[in-house]
Amino acid sequence: MREVLEIVLRSIMVSGTATLLASAWSIALAYLLVRSPRASRPLIPLLEGMVGVPTVLIGLLLYLLLSRQGPLGMLRLLYSPQAIVVGQAVLITPLITSVAYRVLTHSWNMYGELALSLGAAEGQAAKIVIMESLPGVAAAVVMGFSRALGELGVALMVGGNIRGYTRVMTTAIALEVSKGEFELAVSLGAILLFILAMISLTLRFLGRLRE
């Protein structure tokens, strides 16, 4: 039981950190793209296309980058929780950016122009736009967390599923199933399902707030 709790907490910590990191740059990138239509025209379809990239592909790319012979091998991040954080942050960046872009575009068209017309400086307008679109932006962040928590490829390939160190819910479920230990796999699956259901409820609540 203690191990299950440890795995659940580690999963939330790792995916939560990845989500915070990815949100920081993704929301800023989304805002910059809203303000630069020239850049957003080619970049947004590209980011939207990357939302569905298989997690094992991202895992493989990161493995090649972080392995000893790879260009970032000197960081010695492979098979560490930090590697999973980086991998999941990369994985969910296109998702958070493209969803936040849609939300911020709508908000900019209403509130950004309004703020500028009332004499706001660019920074003040950005603050108003983000404040007015907080429920939508928060929904993008929650979607990112949900994707990070439920992915397997990155956690397995760059985390290595090391017991007590990098084992998270999805890698633990995969391991237990391969061992034929369905009891633990089912309990972990139920917990994961419960967390994802809570996230879904949060998204619906945020959706209502937006309306």
Partner: protein, 230 residues
């Protein structure tokens, strides 16, 4: 020139091949009320947004008090941009009450919150809209929201006010509030440009009317003369 001047302005929306404006020359002066009339899609809103410094012209110059706004550095441009306020046709209110919204404009310009709230209360009262003060944006009708968005623009203290279809959602009572407000602002020496289909409003408030068609200025003159023919 004390006000905003559009000099040979051409404008095309990003991604569009068609010109929204073609060589527009127009002056919006302090102490004068200008009515822009013309059919939907003729370019009235585009002219107001360019005059408000919200859009950059594809060709031509937008002069604010004699200086090209798009050749200024950031802080100087902001200073000049703050002399002109554009009010959208569709009223857009921020979260909070009417009072919060009206106080928002001076707060944005650095006025301390208490002073901004006092100013907003006074403005709502003097304009006959004090009953809206505590109403939340969710509780307001379109007409009430329109009045609040216009008062918020006035609270910003602009030298030139640009009103886009200001009577679109107004009943007679609120229309009278607006007409009174326009008269008061003009007497204070402020300039107002109104894009409108409402010829009666143009006839009652404007010193000059401008007929816009297909992105060009067709004619400028006394409203009672040129609007009779439309």
């Amino acid at each position: 020139m004390k006000g905003v001047e559009l000099k040979g302005v051409w404008f095309r929306y990003p991604g569009s091949k068609d010109w929204a404006l073609r060589g527009v020359n127009l002056e919006i002066r302090q102490g004068e009320v200008l009515a822009l009339v013309g059919p939907n899609g003729s370019g009235k809103t585009t002219i107001l947004k360019l005059a408000g410094g919200l859009y950059r012209p594809s060709r031509g110059e937008i002069m604010f008090w004699g200086s090209n706004i798009w050749e200024m550095n950031g802080s100087k441009r902001l200073e000049l941009r703050r002399m002109v306020v554009y009010v959208h046709e569709k009223p857009i209110l921020l979260r909070g009450s009417a009072l919060d919204n009206v106080a928002f404009a001076p707060i944005l310009r650095g006025v301390p919150k208490e002073e901004a709230v006092r100013r907003a209360e006074r403005l709502l009262r003097d304009s006959g809209a004090a009953n809206l003060s505590g109403k939340d944006r969710e509780e307001m009708s379109a007409g009430e929201a329109q009045v609040v968005s216009i008062l918020r623009a006035v609270a910003a203290g602009p030298e030139i006010l640009l009103l886009d279809e200001p009577t679109a959602h107004l009943d007679r009572e609120k229309r009278n509030i607006l007409i009174g407000l326009i008269g008061r602002l003009r007497s204070e020496g402020r300039g107002i440009a109104i894009a409108t289909h409402d010829h009666l409003l143009a006839l009652r408030t404007a010193d000059k009317a401008v007929i816009i068609e297909n992105g060009t200025v067709e004619s400028i003159g006394d409203p009672s003369e040129i609007l009779d023919c439309c």
